[in-house]
Each structure stands twice: as structure tokens, then as C-alpha cells.
Symmetry: C3
Subunit: 163 residues, 3 copies
């Protein structure tokens, strides 16, 4: 039992020793942490702009009308929330397709190129959204990350297609 | 080092050689690409309906009031966005639970049945949402995909339960 | 061919035999099922509060103005939807980073601690959002789950970093 367990442990750590998989793990973690950061940015803007959505969140500001005026939308808060949703829409496919791509046996250099461009483009996208930069800054950074994901999906389907 | 690396590479490609895993990779990629397509449909409707949300997106239409009138919501755009969010809510559980299901050693034919029905139902759901089809078209396609995911979750918990 | 296939099957089930991976599979499935439950809660409130968003969803209530009055937002429906979106924003990073964490060879007891606290905190978060509990109930449960994910991300980057 004990020896079987340690054997299994060894098996499971082998995947993380593979260089392509380690690169996938690194960039996926970075890009998911970046997405999580949007929650903190939202909270920051909600607090500094005093713009909340739940009555229980403004209860400490006083009772009745005093607190109610903070239940409002704010352009900066809404902007961060749109950036956060755009992250979900684009980072979820990267995480899912990227995992399959990493397991489809790509060249390390090709894989790194995909992961690095995607991660760089999504970080740029966030800056372009939050500053905001004039278009087509945000549009281009979105399109680059989108194209990288399509390229990985093509490799997965070419390698693994089983309908 | 070099031999260890190639051994690891071999290990990591074995997963993608497994037929159930290849089927999972195929249908997950298809369904994530379908979800990504919603971004393009949203962009198409935003441009044809001239309905944008960010001031920087309408800057090229002119200055001041001329451009401002395009900062508006449009029923078609909002409909696509609801379809996109519904995809996120349902495809994320499929990708996560489906991976664990594929690793839980199901029969190939049973796994294919799950993946195919889910994928078909979600494609139907998108058409039902965008055309739109009268209810219960959208509701039923949603329920079928939901039930498939529950069935996979049951198999995962039956096989792997470790609390 | 047949022997190769069964060998592959054996390989793919080995991962699910690993105790850390089984724990990951269990808690990921639980937390994704909990997220899926939000769809049913939304449907329940839409039906009991008669608050819908798609014209085709109210067609059975009658024609014209009779049905149109049910195309409205309701505070309870919106509250569940915010809880659902918050689940997506936080459970997606857990599923992605948690998988890499489970493959990074953590101690079983440490891994169980992470998975259990995250799952407990997110279940608490849902109750805090839906009841609703006074703050900082919801805020604290959110922060605990967030911190657990950061801790797993740290372990992944420490083990696998490959830039």
C-alpha cells in the first residue's frame, strides 16, 4: 500500500517535470493570478468611488438614505468589471485548450512562444482597458491572444482528433 | 538529462494517445471554440447595430455628441452576451468535470456518448438563443447538457471520492 | 493494438488513483456542482418572482402587454446572478491552479487542508450572499478562498517555474 502510494506520487510528479508542462503551469498560473487581481481592482474602485451594489455592503455607512446613495454604478467600477469578464471569456479557453496543447507533444520553443505571447497580450489588454488606451490598442491585444488560442486548438485537433 | 527529458515527453504524450482522453480533448476544444465564437458574434452585432460601451471604441465616429449616441445597449448585442455568459456557466463545469471523468476510466462508448450529447446540446442552445427559437427549445438544450455534466460528476465522485 | 489500449487505460487511471489527485477531483467536482446549482436557484427566483429577460421566455404568459410586464429585473434574481458570477471569477482559478498544485507533489495533508478550506469558504460565501448575512461575512469567506488559491499558486510557481 505504502509502496504503491509512493509510486503513484512519483507518477503524478513526472508530468510537472516535463518542460512543456512546467511552462504551461507557469504561464497559466500567472494569467489566472492576473485575472484574480481584477477582483482587488474592483474592490479598490468600489471603495474609493463609494459605488456598491449590495445593501449589506453599505450598512456601515449609516442607515436609510445616507447609505442608499452609495448603491450606485460608477464608470470606473464598470470598466474594471468588463475587463474581468473579458478575462473570463478569454482565459478560460486558454487554460482548457492550453492544457490539451501541452499534452499534445509540441516543441518546447513553439509552446513557449504561444504561452508567452498569450500572457503578454492579456497583460497589455488589461492596461489598455484600465488606462484606457485609444483603440485599436485593446482590440489588437485581444485579437493576438485570441489567435494564439486558436493556434493551440488547431494543434490539439490535429494531434488528438477523435470524434 | 536529455534521455530523461525524452522519457518525460513520451510520458506526457501517452495521455493524449488514450482514446477516451483524445475524445475529451476533441470535444472540449470544439465546445471552447464555440464559446470563443460568441466574442466574434458580439463584435459583429456591436458594429452592425452601432452599439458600444466604451468611449474609446466610438472615438473614430467623431467627437462629442456625434460619437456619444453610439454608447448604448442593443437587444441583439445583449442577447449574444447572455448566451456567452450562459456558455461560461455551463462549459466551465464540463471542461473541469469532464477532465476528471476522462481520467476516471470510463468505457470509451459511454464517454463518447456524454461528450457528443453535451456538445450537440450546447450548439443547439446557441442557435436556440440567437435565432431565437420558441421555448422550451433553449430550456431543453440547456437541461440536456446540464444533466450530462451531472452524470459525469457522479462517475467522478463514485470513482475518486476522497474527502 | 488491444493490449496497447488497455495499457493506456491503465496509465490514465493511475492519476485518479493518486490520493492527492483524488482529493482534487472530489473537491473540484463538489465546488463545480455548487456553482452549477446557482443556475437552478436563478431559475427558481425567475419563476417565483416572475422576472424574465427574454421575450420568448414569457410568451406562455399571454400576448403583448400581459407578457411584457414580466420582462423585468428583480433584486433577488440579480443577487443570485452576482453570486454566480463571483463563483466563476473565483472557482475557475481554483480549478486551474488546483490541478497544477495537485500535480506539483504536495503533502496529502497540506493539499486536503487547501481543498477543504476553499470548498468550505465558497459554500459559506454562497450562504452569505443569498441570505444575505451582514458584512464582513461575505467578504471574509471570499478572502479566505482567495488566499487559499494564492497559496496553491505559490506552490505551483515554486515547483514548476519555467519562464
Amino acid at each position: 500500500m505504502s509502496s504503491m502510494k509512493s509510486e503513484e506520487m512519483a507518477k503524478s510528479t513526472q508530468l510537472i517535470d516535463n518542460e512543456v508542462f512546467r511552462a504551461y503551469a507557469t504561464y497559466t498560473t500567472i494569467v489566472l493570478l492576473k485575472m484574480m487581481l481584477m477582483s482587488l481592482v474592483t474592490a479598490y474602485f468600489r471603495i474609493t468611488r463609494k459605488a456598491f451594489v449590495n445593501p449589506e455592503d453599505v450598512a456601515s455607512f449609516g442607515k436609510g438614505e445616507t447609505a442608499k446613495k452609495y448603491l450606485r454604478t460608477d464608470p470606473d467600477v464598470e470598466r474594471v468589471r468588463r475587463g474581468h469578464l473579458n478575462d473570463l471569456e478569454n482565459i478560460v479557453p486558454f487554460v482548457g485548450i492550453g492544457l490539451l496543447y501541452a499534452l499534445s507533444g509540441p516543441e518546447l520553443s513553439t509552446a513557449l512562444l504561444h504561452f508567452r505571447i498569450f500572457t503578454g497580450a492579456r497583460i497589455l489588454h488589461t492596461f489598455a482597458y484600465l488606462i484606457p488606451l485609444p483603440q485599436p490598442g485593446r482590440g489588437l491585444s485581444w485579437a493576438v491572444a485570441y489567435t494564439v488560442t486558436i493556434s493551440m486548438a488547431y494543434k490539439v485537433l490535429k494531434t488528438a482528433l477523435y470524434l
